[in-house]
Amino acid sequence: MPDHWSFVAAAYGLTAAVLLIYWRRLATKEREVEASKRLNAERSREPSITGHPRSEPASRTPLQQNQRPGAPLP
């Protein structure tokens, strides 16, 4: 009775490979989510996003534009 060791190796090897790839993928995704969470946390310190984009610097009133830290008010 031949042992067919190559078939045994194939079965165990395939299983190990697939399980390992899945495990690695979980770890990668976890790191990605961690990174995006940190980004979100930074963003959430700014005002919350609403249905409209926040105003760009150019659309600020002249008064705001002139305010430099330490500069005297006009």
């Binding site: 067919h4 079965a11 697939v18």
Partner: protein, 215 residues
């Protein structure tokens, strides 16, 4: 918590390997190729566990609307499909030298293949719905329909003739194999069920983190 479980799983899998190659005897008629059984059978049985958990979690989700239950169902679907796919592959590798063919449409092979495509469809449905709440609801319905379909699949396919050796573990009249085979099988079964629980815990945690990252 999950980390401890991971180490425990790794230890169990290592013990399973030792049992499969060191403790279990060389099978008399098939030779060493029979050692594939110690990975093939646990994979299939663990996938059954996954699909049962998926159905229960689906039901819990529909009653309580708890995203955590949906996460468990989703994770179980993914791991279950992977396990059943590997189970089919290893069975096929085992079948080639012993039966002389990679694949045969016997009852148990066929019903396992049906499970595979059914739950592959489940994952496809998950992937196509953008609204997470709606995806959870629809997949819960599909998970319940699929689970109730399993006995129907089993009976309809069973009424075909079969080439496959009779179920090795849970056969009417109890287990007939020697305990030298039983223990390695049980250890591996435990290891793969631990692996399933570990993967599901980790995947469900990841799903929750992903949902939080979006909200």
């Amino acid at each position: 918590m999950v980390k401890t479980l991971g180490w425990l799983t790794a230890a169990a899998l290592a013990a399973g390997l030792v049992m499969a190659f060191g403790v279990a005897p060389r099978e008399v008629t098939q030779g060493n190729v029979q050692r594939i059984m110690y990975v093939h059978v646990p994979l299939i049985l663990a996938s059954y566990v996954a699909f049962v958990v998926l159905a229960v979690a689906s039901l819990v989700y529909l009653v309580r609307r708890d995203p955590a239950a949906d996460g468990v169902a989703h994770a179980s679907g993914e791991v279950g499909v992977m396990f059943v796919g590997l189970g089919i592959a290893t069975g096929s590798i085992w079948g080639k030298p012993t039966w002389g063919t990679w694949w045969t449409w016997d009852a148990r092979l066929t019903s396992v293949a049906i499970l595979f495509v059914m739950y592959l469809g489940y994952l496809l449905l998950r992937g196509t719905i953008d609204d997470p709440e709606r995806a959870a609801r629809y997949c819960a319905v599909l998970g319940i329909v699929a689970a109730l379909d399993i006995p129907l699949v089993h009976f309809s396919v069973y009424w075909w003739r079969t080439l496959h050796q009779p179920p090795s573990l849970m056969k009417p009249g109890g287990f007939t194999g020697s305990s030298s085979i039983l223990w390695p099988l049980l250890v591996n079964l435990l290891a793969f069920i631990l692996l399933y629980v570990y993967f599901v815990a980790r995947r469900a945690r990841l799903l929750r983190a992903q949902a939080e990252a979006i909200a």
